[in-house]
């Protein structure tokens, strides 16, 4: 596998949220606005890339690997928790609004299955550079997935797209033009489940069709 494939697999083939369905809690909770989703994505990117790097560096030496192997899960958790604490403090200092709207979900990055999953499945058995690329690809794939969910939720629920702070696209005029109001429901928990469910169903429909085509091609 070359670096490009390694990087791109996180987007579609092994998208952590849409294909392996990991890290669902923040995906449902903080996707009320695009800004929150992007903020979460940045935090996960930072933690995942660095944790993959540190863990692969720890495990690169065969002798070290032998020592760490029996206690690897606690070691990984301490590494991840430290990085998350760094993110939490930096966000609190420089991005206070984002810190408040993400709330409890910033410390909860520690128990996000994607990060421990990548540490166990990839970083602990691969070279540092490969692990960084894998982490970056996975984190960007996750961010993309969060963006997609939050895009539909904010657009249908509020009639706007908040990209970052003041940078906001107001599409309420479109709703006025069609003489409908934004559907409040999508900004509420119900909307999170609905949007995520429908996106997964669309993805399943596309994969099913592809498989049928592949089968027909073989015949």
């Amino acid at each position: 596998m070359n670096q490009k494939e390694n990087f791109l697999k996180g987007f579609i083939k092994e998208n952590p949220l849409f294909v392996t369905v990991l890290g669902t809690c923040p995906a449902l909770a903080i996707t009320t606005t695009v800004e929150n989703a992007l903020g979460m994505g940045i935090a996960v990117f930072f933690v995942l890339v660095l944790s993959n790097l540190i863990i692969s560096l720890l495990m690169v030496n065969p002798k070290m690997q032998e020592w760490i192997k029996p206690v690897r899960i606690p070691v990984f958790i301490v590494v991840i928790a430290t990085l998350v604490t760094v993110v939490e403090m930096v966000m609190h200092a420089f991005l206070t609004n984002l810190y408040e709207s993400l709330g409890v979900f910033i410390p909860l990055i520690v128990v996000n299955c994607i990060i421990l999953g990548r540490a166990e499945a990839f970083a602990s058995g691969n070279k540092p550079l490969d692990s960084i690329v894998d982490g970056a690809g996975m984190a960007l794939g996750y961010t993309f997935a969060l963006f997609l969910i939050s895009f539909f939720r904010e657009f249908l629920g509020n009639g706007s797209i908040t990209i970052w702070g003041e940078l906001k696209v107001n599409l309420i005029g479109l709703f006025d033009f069609l003489q409908i109001t934004p559907i409040d429901l999508f900004a509420k928990p119900v909307g999170a489940f609905l949007t995520f469910g429908f996106i997964l169903a669309v993805i399943a429909a596309i994969t099913n069709k592809k498989q049928e085509k592949a089968k027909a091609g073989v015949k």
Binding site: C25, P26, P74, G103, V111, K188, F198, L200, A201, A204
Partner: protein, 191 residues
């Protein structure tokens, strides 16, 4: 007393962990295919949430605050929870093999259940006193168990229903969860 009842009701229904706070979605989707496993997971979570909340709250109030190390709470809490889960597993295995058989496979999964760490952190963020913390954690966990059980019953029936091919599995489960969330959101008017 009235305050505690309100807190308990809010934790159980209107602030339900799964349907409104989105904590513990992984086990909610993963282990809810059968009633027995949903109940097993629910019981294990109840046990661990209560225990871990008591330990982490006490540690925070009497150790971290005294040493002015509040910023270390994420690291300390996750280590305490991981150690606690291991300890509970060992003790249950020794003391009651039958209980271990029922809960055993769910216990290791709980370390990465965001509801456990989430409730520990929420208890600190909301400045709960000891009694409030116990009531809140207990009813959050009961709410988790209740929704898990309810959901598993619906999922068992879903297996026999004609679901469109694209919606099979997780998507239809999420749509069902959306309907449940809608029902639970309506209870908000009572408090």
């Amino acid at each position: 007393m009235a305050e505690l009842i309100t807190l308990a009701f809010a934790a159980f229904v209107t602030e339900n962990v799964i349907l409104t706070q989105f904590l513990g979605i992984c086990p909610f989707l993963g282990v809810s295919k059968k009633r027995s496993s949903a109940l097993g997971m629910g019981l294990a979570v109840l046990f661990v949430i209560l225990l871990s909340s008591i330990v982490t709250w006490t540690m925070y109030q009497y150790v971290l605050v005294a040493l002015e190390l509040q910023y270390l709470r994420t690291i300390v809490f996750i280590l305490v929870i991981a150690a606690l889960v291991q300890m509970v597993e060992l003790i249950v295995k020794k003391v009651s093999p039958s209980l271990y058989k029922a809960l055993g496979i769910y216990l290791p999964l709980i370390t990465t259940n965001c509801a456990v760490l989430g409730v520990a952190i929420l208890n600190i963020d909301k400045n709960h006193t000891f009694i409030q913390m116990v009531v809140y954690s207990g009813f959050i966990a009961l709410g988790f168990m209740f929704v898990m059980y309810l959901f598993s019953m619906i999922r068992e029936k879903l297996d026999y229903s004609p679901v469109p091919k694209a919606f099979k599995g997780v998507p239809i489960a999420l749509i069902v969860a959306a309907i449940l969330a809608m029902i639970f959101a309506r209870f908000g008017g009572i408090v």
